[in-house]
Amino acid sequence: MRNRCLTTGNVVAAASAGLLLLATLAAAQAPAYRAPRAPDGKPNLNGIWQAMNTAHWDIEAHSSAPSPARELGAAGAVPAGLGVVEGGSIPYTPEALAKRNENRANRLKLDPEVKCYLPGVPRATYMPYPFQIIQSQKHVMMVHEYAGALRTIYMTEQTEAPADSWMGWSNGRWEGETLVVDTKGFNDLSWFDRAGNFHSDALHVVERFTARSPDTLNYEVTIEDPKVFTRPWKMSMPLYRRVEPNAQIMELRCVEFVEDLLYGHLRKQPK
């Protein structure tokens, strides 16, 4: 009897815990957590952050798969992931979906990451490398370890993108606890992941960074690109602080690692 009550209690507790979890994730707009303040009174998001998921392989839910490069064996294997796209899948137009699938089939040849190209946004945020937020009043900088990629987020003196670029042109604002970053001015060359998910130069990205505990952030992204998607869509994930005291963004200056791949065929032939 007592046992049954206990079990029922557990089920109820588990269910409500589940609901609470979902609610917390969904209601990132109004988090209960209040971040410590930077000296200027804004939520303090300074720190070295990193995603811990498989979105860099594929932002949609996916099974595990062998390494795209045979020689890497299990070291290059694709781990399964439950996806970070709200609603499960990306609302591509039929033509765009065909292009995504073609990208995926030829990813070793086409993925800009393979060529050490700048990662674009939001891909930079969830690559398997850390990035540092340097939060000042006029500029919030995001400095990524991969390829030394860099974003300047203009908090004041905001203008339109003068030209298209890989990392886009970002204007930011504070909405309560949240740093909202609005980015446009992308070229059409970057991808969202290693699975060929892509966008056009009409991409418009709105990111929301909100502290959810001292060492975690909620990261929410809204993607809009009428040339590629039938409607705006969202992805979300937590970001984790690198807490080791010697954490530092190191150089991953990868250009020379890919030169033979890109230009090896133009090498002078041995006589």
Binding site: A161, P162, A163, D164
Partner: protein, 137 residues
């Protein structure tokens, strides 16, 4: 008004001593000094990219054939500081390009001068439409 930096000169110390502008790479290795050319065409696309920008120019050859040439220019960053944007040079702008053709024989050239129909240079001293004529502080 031209850069005097001698691309053939490899002494790095000279760069620092004389304070001349250093070319990002040896253009004479990319383009053939023995193949000067003048192209007349209209702008199809301006890739405002680094380390050097590239102009896609549609050219009507003397025999009536239509070809697209890729013309290498300079880094866009300083122009952007001067107020130039991707809207500054409209698609279809008529350009005369004096330059040198690529060594590999493809339809590429370095744009020694980019000349507008009225004889002025495309960007010169911030003269480009929309150009602010110097750094914004």
């Amino acid at each position: 008004m031209r850069s005097t930096f001698l691309v053939g000169v490899t002494c790095a110390c000279l760069l620092l001593v004389a304070g001349r502008v250093q070319a990002h790479h040896a253009f004479a290795a990319e383009f053939d000094v023995n193949k000067p050319l003048t192209l007349k065409g209209s702008l199809l696309k301006w890739e405002m990219v680094n380390p050097h920008s590239w102009f896609h120019v549609v050219v009507k050859e003397p025999d009536g054939k239509i070809t697209t040439w890729l013309i290498e220019g300079g880094s866009p960053n300083q122009l952007i500081r001067m107020g130039v944007t991707k809207n500054t040079v409209p698609i279809g702008t008529e350009l005369t390009i004096e330059g040198y053709r690529a060594k590999d024989g493809t339809m590429k050239a370095v744009g020694r001068n980019f000349v507008l129909p009225d004889g002025s240079r495309l960007f010169l001293g911030g003269s480009a439409p929309g150009g602010g004529g110097g750094d914004k502080k």
